[in-house]
């Protein structure tokens, strides 16, 4: 369920980074205010525990496949939402840095989908609502199952929304939902079973570990959670509708923001004008892909392949792009080899290599 950078647009990634960053800052403050100073090592070791627990698998009866603990819910149950969110965020960051599991731009999305949703929606609204104070009874176990399933369903739905809003995958909304939700129903059941199994064992072996005093952020009020969810939904809805309005690509503003192309186009004198002329002379893909070749006057909006009649496909331009692209890759690799040789020689001179 980790989203990769290659499927996230900067606008969506940035929005989710802001959401995740805000949650982390909020939780960091809560944890800092907490009187428990054993929380720092506890959170660190629990993050490591999640990694280690993912090494252990159990067989799912009748399917021949196996499942393992995801970790979001069990961390929330043991540490409380705020500390748990920080642990999940750190686990996701380590996964992004060391395993390329989820990317840096997508990190915000992943923290929201796998951290904020279990910690701030599934736990307070579902688990605590269903379980009440009955933690280690069958009612508590049922609440854990439901919370795990709801958390993963919402997380999977968030993945669909974020991928759609990014507009990089062609998958239509309905098909993507039908693809993701059933898979994550199964994953949610597995997550719930694993969480319940581990917690039941602890309830038998050392019940006092489950009744840890003053979990941080447990006192998060229902109203503030609802307000937070509403604000996030409003922001996301705004971003999504904005994207829908400039469909199909909806990337123009970020492109303009990054490249300043609007200004480049608008001022035609001096160096800029020359550069723009150079660009027109050389760049057969003037920033909007292959299809604008026939219609230089209507660049950004006619972005859909259907908007371009068939004869506009030009073999010549395709060829120059292909040659240029391949040559650039080859040059970059050669340069890398050269730099590496240079670095090695430099290291040899100073006696390090």
């Amino acid at each position: 369920m980790h989203m990769a950078d290659a499927l996230v647009s900067p606008a969506v990634g940035g929005t989710m980074w802001a959401a995740a960053g805000g949650s982390i800052a909020f939780c960091a403050r809560k944890v800092k205010q907490s009187p428990r100073d054993d929380l720092v090592p506890l959170m660190g070791v629990m993050g490591a525990f999640v990694f280690a627990a993912q090494m252990i698998n159990f067989s799912i009866p009748g399917t021949g496949s196996s499942g393992h603990l995801g970790g979001g819910l069990i961390l929330t149950l043991l540490l409380g939402p705020c500390a748990a969110l920080l642990v999940i965020a750190s686990v996701l960051t380590v996964q992004a840095f060391f395993f390329a599991d989820g990317g840096l731009l997508a990190l915000g999305c992943n923290i929201v989908n796998l951290g904020c949703i279990p910690a701030f929606i599934a736990y307070p609204l579902v688990y605590r609502g269903l379980a009440g104070n009955a933690r280690s009874t069958s009612r508590g176990r049922a609440a854990t199952m439901v919370a795990a399933i709801v958390g993963l369903q919402l997380g999977a739905f968030a993945v669909v929304l974020e991928t759609r809003a990014s507009g990089i995958s062609e998958l239509p909304f309905g098909a993507f939902v039908l693809l993701m939700q059933p898979i994550h129903l199964a994953i949610g059941v597995v997550e719930g079973l694993a969480t319940v199994a581990a917690l039941s064992f602890i309830a038998r072996a050392r019940p006092e570990a489950l009744s840890a005093p003053s979990q941080v952020g447990t006192s998060v009020r229902l109203r503030s959670v609802l307000v937070g969810v509403a604000v996030c939904a409003a922001i996301l809805g705004g971003v999504a509708s904005w994207f829908a309005s400039t469909h199909p690509d909806g990337l123009e503003w970020s492109i303009a923001g990054v490249s300043g192309r609007e200004e480049l186009r608008s001022s035609r004198d001096g160096l800029r004008g020359k550069l723009a002329a150079l660009q027109e002379a050389t760049a057969f893909l003037p920033g909007y892909g292959f299809r604008t070749t026939g219609h230089p006057a209507a660049p950004a909006e006619s972005d859909r392949p259907t908007a371009q009649p068939w004869p506009a496909v030009s073999a010549e331009t395709s060829l120059s792009g292909f040659v240029g692209g391949s040559l650039t890759l080859a040059l970059a690799c050669l340069l890398g080899l050269g730099l590496r040789a240079g670095a090695r020689r430099g290291a040899g001179r100073t006696g390090r290599g």
Partner: protein, 273 residues
């Protein structure tokens, strides 16, 4: 966190990346903040291209290549990690050729559908963004990277959490690995566990982790921990770091504004715009 299952081999890999982070090369000597900013800007700019773009993205490979070569990172190491992480992007991206069949590129008489172009674009971007992120860690090491993030304003509690999690990863995972070896020796060749056995194994691992956290906490108290977290400030932002950041950002801006690869192609083939 429903990602791949962590095996002992992965821990060796993490250790390998940590070892690389301790090298001393020109790229390792650049301030962690400078590298983090450049890599983040790189990913944002690469992902800001429209979906059918390929050739304009190719010049961006210069950035990971420079990191990897100047940092003397083994290319095979990074390439293998990229391949291991590929499936998700591959599966989602493969729907593009199925759903988008409008031809948009022609090579002589042959045409290529838009879906294949955007699919290739996704794969190229995937390799670039993942490669850049891995190169960042390999050229910096998590400790320096964490300290740098702290200096950039990331809450200190989170930075400490990141470093603690990374530090105890090996310890706790070792414990998990020993448990699994014990199970394997006693289970007569059966590979997977029943849910009941699984529960007690993971529960045991959890209890051991809690115990370890308590021991760590006592050790910290014994060394004067008062609840205040201290992260060592390790480096200053020098002039060369400014140059590094500004140079790369200028390159990204230029490569984003103009299709450098197509310009090269036009120059060589004599093709027109």
């Amino acid at each position: 966190m429903s990602g791949g299952v962590l095996g002992l081999g992965d821990l060796v890999e993490i250790g390998r990346l940590d070892d690389l982070g301790r090298l001393d090369t020109p790229m390792h000597r650049v301030d962690a903040r400078a590298k983090a900013i450049v890599v983040l800007a790189f990913i944002i700019v690469v992902m800001s291209f429209p979906r059918y773009e390929i050739s304009a993205i190719t010049p961006f490979i210069l950035c990971p290549v420079a990191f990897i070569s100047l940092g003397r990172i083994p290319v095979r190491h990074i390439a293998r990690k990229i391949l291991v992480a590929l499936p998700f992007a591959l599966v989602i991206g493969l729907f593009n050729p199925i759903l988008d069949r409008q031809p948009i590129v022609a090579f002589g008489p042959h045409t290529v559908a838009g879906g294949w172009v955007s699919f290739a674009s996704i794969l190229l971007r995937f390799a670039l963004t993942v490669g850049a992120a891995l190169a960042l860690v390999a050229c910096t090491g998590l400790y320096r990277l964490g300290a740098g993030l702290g200096q950039l304003g990331v809450p200190r509690v989170f930075v400490v959490q990141l470093l603690f999690c990374h530090r105890y990863l090996f310890v706790v995972a070792d414990e998990g690995g020993r448990m699994m070896r014990g199970v394997a020796l006693r289970s007569d060749g059966k590979r997977t566990l029943s849910l009941r056995v699984y529960g007690s194994l993971v529960g045991h691992l959890l209890l051991r982790s809690l115990d370890r956290a308590e021991r760590v906490h006592r050790a910290m108290l014994a060394r004067g921990f008062t609840g205040e977290i201290r992260v060592m400030r390790c480096s200053a932002f020098r002039g060369s770091d400014w140059l590094f950041v500004c140079g790369w950002l200028a390159f990204f801006a230029a490569a984003r504004a103009w299709n450098l690869a197509a310009a090269l192609g036009c120059l060589l083939t004599g093709g027109a715009a």
